[in-house]
C-alpha cells in the first residue's frame, strides 16, 4: 500500500540504469542576466567530461518573461522557435518533464538561444535536471 497522494519518486523507484551504467541524479544550472529585449544566440552549458548527462526535467527562476530554445546533444533544436518561459512550469516541485530524456555526451554542451521578453533587465537561472550516466 502506498501513500496515495505522494509522487511516485517519494514512494521509491527502482534503479533504471541501463546494463553496465549507473545513473545518478544531477543538474546543470544555466545563469544569465539579460538586458532589456536582449537576444543571445549560441550560449552554452558545458557538460562535464566525467559522464553523459540525461536531461529529464526543466525548472527556471527569472525576474521576467523570456523566450528559450535549446539543442539536443547532436546539435538539433528541440523547439521550432522561442518558447515563452510561462509555458514551462517554474517550480522545482512540479518541474516540466522532458520525456523521452535527451542525452548529452560527456564533454558535450547544451546550446541555448535565449531572449528577454520583459523589456527590463532579467536575471535568469534555468535548471536542467536529470542524471549523470557513468560506465561501471
Amino acid at each position: 500500500m502506498l501513500n496515495a497522494i505522494a509522487p511516485v519518486g517519494v514512494q521509491g523507484v527502482n534503479d533504471a540504469s541501463p546494463d553496465r551504467y549507473l545513473d545518478w541524479g544531477f543538474a546543470y544550472p544555466y545563469n544569465k542576466v539579460l538586458t532589456a529585449n536582449q537576444v543571445v544566440i549560441g550560449d552554452t552549458v558545458a557538460i562535464f567530461s566525467e559522464a553523459d548527462f540525461c536531461l529529464r526535467a526543466l525548472v527556471f527562476q527569472s525576474t521576467g518573461l523570456f523566450g528559450l530554445r535549446f539543442q539536443d546533444g547532436q546539435g538539433y533544436y528541440l523547439q521550432s522557435g522561442f518558447v515563452y518561459s510561462t509555458n514551462y512550469p517554474n517550480n522545482p516541485g512540479d518541474p516540466f518533464p522532458w520525456l523521452p530524456q535527451v542525452i548529452y555526451p560527456a564533454s558535450g554542451r547544451i546550446w541555448i538561444d535565449i531572449q528577454d521578453l520583459s523589456g527590463n533587465p532579467n536575471t535568469i537561472q534555468i535548471l536542467f535536471v536529470g542524471a549523470n550516466r557513468s560506465k561501471v
Binding site: 496515495a4 545513473d23 516541485g93 537561472q125
Partner: protein
C-alpha cells in the same frame, strides 16, 4: 526525515559544508525542501548546493531555489550510508521567522534501510482488508518559549495505517514543529520538523509545500498510540489552535 535547523545562521551570510550526520542506518534520500525558509531569492543571489554521501554535488553550480515553498523529488534517489553526512552550502541566507522565533529548516525526506526488518507499513499476522479511517485531533500551541508537549492519540479496535497528516489553518511560516513517533515509540526524524514540512495542507490554500509524509505509510498496532511531540514556533500573538487530521486506513481482519 533528516532536518537542519537554520535558526542560528545569520541573514546575508553564506555557509559552506553545513551537514546533518546520518545515524544508525543507511538513509535513502527521495525529497528535499525548505529553501524558502533558509535562502534568499535568486534575484538577491540566494542559492544552494548539496552533496551526496561521496561528496558529488547535486548540480554543476549552486541552484537558485530560494523562494520556492514546494520541495523537489530527487530521482534517481540518493543513498547515504550510515555515518555519512548530508552536506550542503547555503549562499545568502535569509531566514523565515515568526515574531523573532526562527522557523527555518531544510528537510531531507526518505527512508531508512534497516537490515532484517520488514519495510513500512509493517505486515499483519492475519488477512485483512483496508477501510479508510480518520483520527481528528485538536492541537493548541502556546507562544514560545514553552516546553515541548507530547500528544497522544490512542489507536483502538483495529490496526491503523497512517498515510498523511492534514493541517488547518495554513499559516506561514510554521507555527510549530513536531516529531512523529511510530508504534514502537521510535521518532521518525532527527529533530522536530516544521509543521508545514511534515503535515499536508490544502494545496489551494497553502503556498505549495505539499508534504508527503509518511511515505510509505506507518502502521500503528491495536492499543498502541500515535504519539507526536510538538514545540512552539510562535514568537508573538499568543496561543493558536490547529485542527489535525490523521488520515489512513484501518486493517479489518477478514477470511
Amino acid at each position: 526525515m533528516y532536518a537542519f535547523n537554520a535558526g542560528s545562521l545569520t541573514n546575508g551570510s553564506s555557509y559552506q559544508r553545513l551537514f546533518i550526520p546520518v545515524d544508525n542506518y543507511d538513509f535513502i534520500l527521495r525529497h528535499w525542501a525548505g529553501w524558502d525558509s533558509v535562502i534568499d531569492t535568486p534575484a538577491n543571489s540566494g542559492s544552494i548546493q548539496a552533496y551526496d554521501d561521496i561528496q558529488r554535488n547535486f548540480a554543476a553550480l549552486p541552484m537558485a531555489l530560494g523562494g520556492f515553498k514546494s520541495g523537489q523529488v530527487l530521482l534517481p534517489e540518493k543513498r547515504y550510508r550510515v555515518n555519512a553526512k548530508i552536506q550542503f552550502d547555503l549562499n545568502k541566507v535569509l531566514l523565515a521567522n515568526n515574531g523573532g522565533t526562527a522557523a527555518s529548516q531544510l528537510v531531507f525526506s526518505g527512508v531508512r534501510r534497516i537490515p532484517g526488518q520488514a519495510g513500512d507499513p509493517a505486515p499483519s499476522a492475519v488477512n485483512f482488508k483496508r477501510v479508510k479511517f480518520f483520527y481528528p485531533y485538536t492541537l493548541t500551541v502556546q507562544q514560545a518559549p514553552v516546553a515541548p508537549v507530547m500528544n497522544s492519540i490512542p489507536v483502538l479496535d483495529y490496526e491503523f495505517e497512517l498515510e498523511r497528516i492534514e493541517l488547518t489553518p495554513y499559516l506561514y511560516p510554521s507555527r510549530f514543529a513536531m516529531t512523529l513517533f511510530d508504534s514502537n515509540k521510535i521518532g521518525r526524524s532527527n529533530v522536530h520538523i516544521d509543521a508545514l514540512r511534515i503535515c499536508h495542507s490544502d494545496p489551494s490554500l497553502s503556498g505549495g509545500e505539499l508534504s508527503f509524509f509518511p511515505s510509505p505509510p506507518l502502521l500503528y498496532r491495536v492499543n498502541s498510540s500515535i504519539n507526536f511531540e510538538t514545540i512552539s514556533r510562535i514568537g508573538a500573538g499568543g496561543a493558536l489552535t490547529f485542527q489535525m487530521l490523521f488520515v489512513g486506513s484501518r486493517r479489518m481482519p477478514c477470511a
